[in-house]
Symmetry: D2
C-alpha cells in the first residue's frame, strides 16, 4: 500500500506537534509538508528540540506551499475560522481534510451559529463555507464512525466535549437523564490552551493552583448539548459546565452529576456501559474511579459510574489525555476511519506511568 500523504497546517502548535508524532510512527501515513505561520523557515526539531533525530522537516509558510498541494489529506491544527477559508477549494479538488477547531463540528448554520455566539474569539458568526455543512461529520469516532468513514470533511471534537459526550452517551441514549440536565466539573491540564504564553498559563501563577474559568460559559458545551440531546431516546440536553484549570500539563477529568428518571444500580449501569462500548478499543469502563494519569500519553478514555443512596442520583467520571483522545489521538483515529484503516493503527502506545 502506498503511503497516505498528509499535510499539516498549524504544524508548530501543540496540536500540530501531537499529530506529527503520531504520523511519524504510523505504518501507513507519511507527512508531506509542515505549514505554519510562526517559525516558518526553521526545522521542526529546532522548534521542538525533543524531536532531534526523529524529524527534521523544515516548516513552511502558506506563501511558499499551497494548502492541499501534493497530499491526500490536509490536517488543520489551527484556530477557529482558518479551515473555513480553504474548505471550498479543497472540496472542489477532492482533497479530504480534518479540522481541529469548531469550524466543521456542526452540520447546519443554525447549530454553528449557537456555537459561534458562545465562542470568546469569534465575533462574526457567519460560516465561511456554509454550503459544505451537512457534508461534514462530527468526529467523535465511537458514536459517529460510519459517517466519519464516508465523509471528506471531519470536524475533530473539542477536548472537554469528548469526555462529556462519551461519558454520558449511554445514559442519554437510553433516555435516563431527568430533564436532560447534568452538572459537570471539568478539571484540565494547561496544555489545552496551547503553546502561546499567557497570564493564566504563567508558571508562577498556575503551579499548585486550581483556577475555575469561563464558569457556565464554555463553548464546548454547545457541541456536547447538541450531541447528547439528539442521541437515541434523548430529547435535549442541558450541561452546566465549570472548567477548572489545574497546575498540571496534560489530562482532563470530568466529574458529572445527574438524576436518573428511574431507579438504577451501579452494577446495572456499568454493565450497560460495557455493552454500549463493546468493540470500542479505546473506551475502558473501570470498576474504580478513573484517574487523571490513567490514560496519560495514550488514546484511551477511562470511565466509571457511581450511584448515590436511593438509586437516583448518578455520578459519572471520565478521564482522557486532552492532547490525545482530546485532540490528536481522536484526529488519528478519525483519519484511520476516513482511510479504511483499523481505528487503532498508529495508536498502540500505552499510557506513561508513573
Amino acid at each position: 500500500m502506498a503511503p497516505i500523504r498528509a499535510q499539516l497546517v498549524g504544524a508548530t502548535g501543540y496540536g500540530g506537534l501531537g499529530i506529527l508524532e503520531l504520523l511519524l510512527q504510523h505504518p501507513h501515513f507519511q507527512v508531506s509538508t509542515l505549514i505554519a505561520r510562526d517559525d516558518a523557515g526553521k526545522r521542526i526539531d529546532e522548534v521542538y528540540p525533543h524531536l532531534a533525530g526523529r524529524c527534521d522537516l523544515v516548516v513552511q509558510s502558506s506563501d511558499e506551499v499551497a494548502v492541499g498541494e501534493d497530499c491526500d489529506v490536509v490536517i488543520f491544527a489551527t484556530p477557529d475560522r482558518v479551515s473555513q477559508q480553504y474548505a471550498q477549494d479543497l472540496h472542489s479538488r477532492g482533497v479530504r481534510f480534518i479540522d481541529y477547531s469548531g469550524d466543521f463540528r456542526f452540520t447546519s448554520t443554525a447549530d454553528y451559529g449557537r456555537y459561534a455566539a458562545r465562542h470568546p474569539s469569534i465575533s462574526d458568526a457567519t460560516h465561511g463555507a456554509a454550503d459544505l455543512l451537512g457534508q461534514n461529520a462530527y468526529g467523535v469516532s465511537e458514536l459517529n464512525g460510519e459517517a466519519i468513514a464516508h465523509s471528506k470533511i471531519v470536524g475533530n471534537p473539542g477536548c472537554f466535549a469528548v469526555g462529556i459526550i462519551l461519558g454520558l452517551a449511554p445514559l442519554f441514549a437510553d433516555g435516563l437523564v431527568e430533564a436532560g440536565t447534568v452538572q459537570v466539573d471539568g478539571l484540565t491540564g494547561s496544555s489545552g490552551a496551547g503553546k502561546k504564553p499567557a497570564p493564566l498559563q504563567h508558571f508562577s501563577h498556575l503551579n499548585d493552583n486550581v483556577v475555575p474559568y469561563r464558569v457556565l460559559n464554555h463553548q464546548h458545551v454547545v457541541e456536547s448539548e447538541m450531541t447528547l440531546g439528539r442521541l437515541g431516546q434523548a430529547s435535549g440536553a442541558t450541561v452546566d459546565f465549570i472548567p477548572h484549570l489545574l497546575g498540571t500539563t496534560r489530562g482532563i477529568l470530568n466529574t458529572m452529576h445527574l438524576t436518573a428518571n428511574k431507579t438504577v444500580t451501579r452494577e446495572g449501569l456499568l454493565e450497560r456501559y460495557r455493552e454500549f462500548y463493546a468493540g470500542q478499543h479505546f473506551v475502558r469502563v473501570l470498576d474504580s474511579p478513573p484517574t487523571l494519569k490513567g490514560p496519560l500519553g495514550s488514546n484511551y478514555i477511562d470511565l466509571s459510574v457511581f450511584v448515590a443512596e436511593g438509586g437516583r442520583r448518578v455520578v459519572v467520571m471520565s478521564s482522557i489525555d486532552n492532547l490525545m483522545k482530546g485532540q490528536s489521538g481522536s484526529a488519528m483515529q478519525n483519519l484511520n476511519l476516513m482511510f479504511g484503516l483499523p481505528a487503532t493503527a498508529g495508536l498502540e502506545r500505552g499510557p506513561l506511568y508513573p
Copy 2:
C-alpha cells in the same frame, strides 16, 4: 496579661506543626509542652528542620508528661478516639481542650454514631466520653461563635466540612435549597492526609495526577449535612460529595451545585452572602471565582456564587488552605474565642503568592 499556656498532643504531625507555628507568633499564647508518640526525645527542629532558630522544644511522650498538666488548655492534634480517653479527666480538672478529630464535633451520641459508622477507621461507635456530649461546641467559628466562647470543649471541624458549610450556610439558612440536596466536587491537596507515607500520597503516583477517592462515602459529609440541615429555615440536607486528591500540597476548593426553590440572581446572592458574613474577617466574598492559591498559607475562606440561565441552578465555590482554615487556623480562631481574644489574634499572616 499572663500568657495562656497551651499543651500540644500529637505535636509532630502536620496538624501539630500548624498550631505550633501559630502559637509561636501569637501575642498571648505560650507553648508549654509538646507531646507525641513518634519522635519523642527529639528536638522539634530535628523533626522539622525548617523550624531551626524558631523552636527547639524537645518532644515528650505521654509517659513522661501528663496530658493536661501545667497548662491552661490542651490541643489534641490527634486521630479519632484519642481525646475521648482524656476528656473526663481534663473536664473534671477544669482544663479546657480543643480536638482536631471527630470526637467532639457532635453533641449527641446519635449524631456521633452516624459519623462513626461512616468513618473508615472507627470500628466501635461507642463514644468514650458520652456524658460530655452536649457540653462541647462544634468549632465552625463564624456560625457558632457564642457557643465556642462559652464551651470548655471544642471539636474542630473537618477540613472539607469547613468549605462546604461556610460555602452553603447562607442558602440553607434561608431555606433556598430544593430538596436540601447539593452535589459537591471537592479538590484537595495531599497534606490533609498527614505526614505518614502511604501509596496514595507517594510522590510518583500523585504528581500530575487527580485521584477521586471515597466517592459518595466521605465521613466529613455527616457533619456537613447535620450542620447545614439545622440552620435557620433549613429542614435537612443531603450532600453528594466526591473528594478528588490533587497533585498539590495545600488547599481545598469545593465546587457545589444546587437548585434554588425560587428564581435568584447572581447579584442578589452575592449581596446576601456579604450581609450574612458581615463582620467576619476571614470570609471573603469575591466577584471572580476563588482560586486554590488565593488563601494559601492564610486563614481566609474565599467564596463566590454563580447562577445558570433560568435563575434556578446555582453554583457556589469555596477555597481554603486545608491546613489553616481547614485545620490549625480554625483551631487558633476557636482558641481566641475560647479565651476572649479577638478572632484574628495571631492570624494576621496573609496568603503567600505566587
Copy 3:
C-alpha cells in the same frame, strides 16, 4: 514613632508585591503610594485578588504622582536603568531610595560597566547617575551592614548572588579558595523571572522540567565575583555558574564546588561558618543539607558544608526563597538598617511547610 512612609515604584510586579506585603505587616513602615506603568488605575487587590481585605490602594502612574513626593523612602522594584533616571533628583532632595536592579549594586563606573556588558537587556553601559556611584551601598546586609546603615542609596543584590556570596564568604574571607575559582550549579524557581508570560515560563513547558539557561553567562556572576574577590584575604574570584530553571515557583538552591588550598574538615568549616555569621539572625548553618523548601516564604538563608575524601575538595550548599532573602526580604532587611530598626522588624514570618 511616626510611621516611615514608603513609596513603591514598579508596585505590580512580583518584586513590588513582595515588599508591599512586608510593609503592610511592618510595625513602623507605611505605604504611601503605589506607582506602576501597567495596571495604573486599578486597585491592587484587583491586580492580585489574594490581597482582598488586606490592601485596596489604587495603583497610580508616574504621570499622576511624582516619584519621591510625600514619602521618606522610595523603593524601586523596577528593571535595570529605571532608578538611574530618578536618582539625581531624589538625592538632591534628600530622599533615600533602594533599588532592586543592578543600577546601584556597583560603586564605580568600571565595575558597573563589566556588569552592564554581561546583561542581556542593557545595550548602553553608560550609567545614568555616575556621580552618585560611591555614595551607594551594595545591599548584602550581613556583609555590608554598616555601609547600608549610613547610605542613602542601596542597591539590592541579585537573587542568585545572595546565595552564592553568603554561601562562600567565610571561605573567601579566609583566603581558602584555590585559584579563587568555584563551580556553582544554581537551581531556581520560576518566579525570579517575574510576572510577565514568556515561553520559558509557560506552564506546559516548565512543569516537570529542568532547563539550564545562560550557561556560564549570567549577569549575577559579576557582583558575586567582585564581592567575594575583595573579601578579607581573598584576591579575586572566578565563578563558573550554571543556572537551572526548575518547575517550581519559589526558591534558589546553589550547590558550589571548590578546592581548598589546605586540608580542611567538615566540622572545622561548620564551626567557622557559625562563628562568621554569629549574631546574624537570618543565616542558619545546618548539619544536614539545606532543602529548597526549608526557608520557603521566610527571609532565612540555610547553609551547609561538606568535604570530600582527602580534605581538599569542598561542597557548599545554600538555600533561600528567591522572592524573600533573594529580593523583597533582603530589601526589607536593608530598609530596617537604613532607618535604624532591628534587622528582623517585619520579617518574623517563618517558613511555610509542608
Copy 4:
C-alpha cells in the same frame, strides 16, 4: 522467528513495569511469567490500572513458578542480592539473565567489594556467585556492546551512572580530564526510588522541593569511576557526586564540571562527541543545553558541552529518562544486543512533550 520468552522477576515494581510495557510492544519478545513477592495472585492490571486492556497476566510468587522455567531469558527487576541467589542455577541450565541491581555490574570480587561497601543496604560484601564474575558484562550498551552481545549475564547500569558515564566517556577516553577528577550535580525525579512509600518520597514533603541526599556518598559513583577510569587513555577517575531529589517524577539531569589538561573549544568538543557516538541511535549531541523533559518517556540520552573563558574549564550536561535509558530502556537495548536484534527494536517510542 519464534518469540523470545522473557520471565520477569520483581514484576510489580516500577522497574518491572517498565520492561513489561516495552516487551508488550516488542515485535520479537513475549512475556512468559510475572513473578513478584508483593501482589502475587493479583492481575497486573489490578496492581496498575493504567494497564487495563493491555495486559491481564496474573502475578505469581516464586513459590508457584520456578525462576528460569519455561523461558529464554530472565529479567531481574529486583534489589541487590536477589539475582545472586539464582545465578548459578540459571547459568548451569544455560538460561541467560539480566539484572537491574549492582549484583552483576562488576567483573571481579574486588570491584564488587568496593561497591558493596558503599551501598546503604548491603551489610555483607561477599558476592553470592563470585565464580560467575568475569563471565558477566556491564550493560552500558554504547561502550560495551560487543561484550553484552556475547555474554549470558548482563548487569544493567545504575541510573545516575548511565548519565555520568555516557556524558564523560569521550573526555576520559581521550585522557583529557585533569587529575581524572570531576564534580557532578545530579538532579533526579522521584521514581528512581521505586514504588514503596517513604518519607523522602512523601508528596507533601517533596512537592516543590529539592532535597540533596547521600552527599559525596552515592553508590553509583563506584561503577562510574571504574568505567571512566579504565577507558582509552584514562588513568583512574574521581567523581564528586551530589544527588539532588526533585519534586518531579521522571528524569535525571547531570551537570558535570572538570578541567581539561589542555586548551579546548566548544566546537571541537561537540565534534568529538558526535564522532565518538556516531551510529549510536540513542545518543543525541545537542547544540543547546539538554532539558529534563527532552528525552522523557524515550530511550534517548541528550548531551551537550560548554567551555568557560580560558578554554580549560569544561561543563558537560546529560539528560535521560531515569526509568528508560536509566533503567528499563537500557535493559531492553541490552536484551536486543544479547539476542542479536537491532538495538532500537521495541524502543521506537519518542519523547512525550509537553
